[in-house]
């Protein structure tokens, strides 16, 4: 039987550790992806991910279900990301490209994808990552939440605490900057 997030939360509060394990399993990757795309560093994104679940576990008894568990989790993660950015006093970084391993690349290729297509896809991903670092934090967060996590405008507005219209404006401005930057790099 598949429990909903809220049911798992209730069971966790009741002392069922396995239920919280299930929640971690369910949301570990999305939270890590959110942190990575927001701050741009793999190692720090992992730390943020771990800290998010640690804080969630500690605050679980106070969770009253006024929001979705996922939204609550996203809020914790975003606050941690914001703290990280302020602490580091810098924009997200683009990590130095890791060593290129042809075997790894071949393993990462889609079955119908040639090695040339794979290289092009990786180049494009790097260009996107680089362009994203140019965005102000608010625009980047709006794009990440909408594009990669599929949140509605209203959910994003609730999460970041701004009007709905502001979310749309941030998205428009952010996408416009990305359009210009990606055209510059011609990918």
């Amino acid at each position: 039987m598949t429990w909903t997030d809220e049911e798992l939360v209730a069971r966790s509060i009741g002392g069922d550790a396995d239920s919280f394990n299930e929640l971690v399993l369910r949301w570990e990757r999305p939270i890590y992806a959110l942190a990575y795309r927001t701050i741009g560093r793999e190692e720090d994104a992992r730390d943020v991910c771990q800290e998010t679940f640690l804080r969630a576990f500690r605050a679980l008894p106070g969770f009253r279900g006024q929001a979705k568990f996922s939204s609550w989790l996203y809020r914790i993660a975003l606050n941690l990301c914001r703290d990280w950015i302020r602490r580091e006093r810098r924009a997200p970084v683009v990590q130095a490209p890791e060593d290129v391993d042809l075997i790894e690349m071949a393993a990462a290729a889609e079955p119908s994808e040639s090695i040339e297509e794979l290289v092009a896809r990786k180049d494009l991903a790097k260009a996107v990552e680089r362009a994203m670092t140019l965005l102000p934090e608010e625009q980047r967060t709006a794009i990440v939440l909408k594009e990669y996590h599929g949140l509605t405008f209203q959910e994003i507005a609730d999460l970041v605490g701004c009007p709905l219209s502001t979310v749309k404006t941030r998205l428009y401005q952010g996408l416009t900057v990305l359009r210009r930057e990606l055209n510059k790099s011609a990918v």
Binding site: R29, Y32, Y36, V100, L124, A125, L171
Partner: protein, 265 residues
């Protein structure tokens, strides 16, 4: 020339974004649907932003090694996330900055000195450097037997003390009984003095020998530890060189591959 002026009535940018993500009120959708065929600028922007979205989809974060929970090892409710195991990266050390690597090397040397039980002391004999866990210097059999022969046991010293006391007592008794044999008493003192001097000389020689043995032992320990450290460092350097060689090889292969691809094109 195409007219690029947009005549849309509402907030054009926000509606465009809502339309792009299909997160829009039905009435606004219908209105924008009606507007699009008449507006070249909106059609162009919509297509361009749709293209941006397609390119954004190519950006995937590197996959971390996520924790694989099992029924046998559930997360401890007192510590829901183990920072060491929740998300692991086996190559974390590749991202360690140089200063941290230097600090780690210094720490390693410190720990090595600790393991080697490096002991530096200063006493009446000057500075003493000792390594290893054996406090007493292991002396080989010949030296040990020689030292045993040279050593004066406590029993012998007690006997000597007793004999000296007896002699003093005898001398005192003789001097009280008759003042004549002073010469004999003086001869007895000289004999005692000679013996004491001989014992002191012997003791000094023994101490010098022991000191020499200890110094030799320290030198042996230091040399052995140094050789062990050198061989360890040599092994580590070899490992790093191998790794570097492999990395260079990979880079070369990649460059060659890219060259071939670019030449084909």
């Amino acid at each position: 020339m195409t007219d690029m002026t947009c005549t849309y009535g509402g907030d054009r940018d926000q509606t465009l974004i809502a339309y792009l993500y299909d997160d829009i009120e039905p009435a606004d959708r219908a209105s924008f649907d009606a507007h699009l065929p008449t507006c070249e600028r909106c059609r162009r922007d919509l297509a361009a932003l749709g293209g941006v979205r397609q390119r954004l989809a190519q950006w995937q974060p590197p996959l971390p090694q996520l924790r694989q929970p099992s029924p046998q090892s559930p997360i401890n409710p007192q510590s829901p996330i183990n920072p060491q195991s929740a998300i692991r990266d086996p190559q974390w050390w590749r991202q360690v900055p140089v200063w941290a690597q230097v600090a780690a090397a210094l720490l390693f040397l410190g720990v090595s000195a600790g393991i080697a039980n490096l002991d530096v002391r200063h006493d009446a004999n000057g500075w003493t450097l000792r390594t290893g866990w054996l406090k007493a210097a292991p002396i080989d059999a010949a030296q040990a037997s020689r030292s045993a022969d040279d050593a004066v046991s406590k029993t012998e010293l007690t006997a000597l003390e007793q004999r000296l006391r007896d002699e003093f007592r005898t001398v005192q008794a003789a001097s009280v009984a008759s003042p004549q044999p002073v010469r004999a008493a003086t001869a007895g003192d000289a004999d005692v003095l000679r013996r004491v001097r001989a014992i002191v000389d012997e003791s000094e020689k023994r101490q010098q020998r022991e000191l020499a043995l200890r110094v030799a032992q320290v030198m042996r320990d230091v040399t052995a530890q140094r050789q062990a450290d050198l061989s360890k460092i040599d092994r580590n350097i070899g490992y790093v060189q191998n790794q570097t060689g492999v990395e260079i090889l990979k880079q070369r292969e990649m460059v060659n591959y890219l060259m071939r691809v670019s030449q084909k094109q």
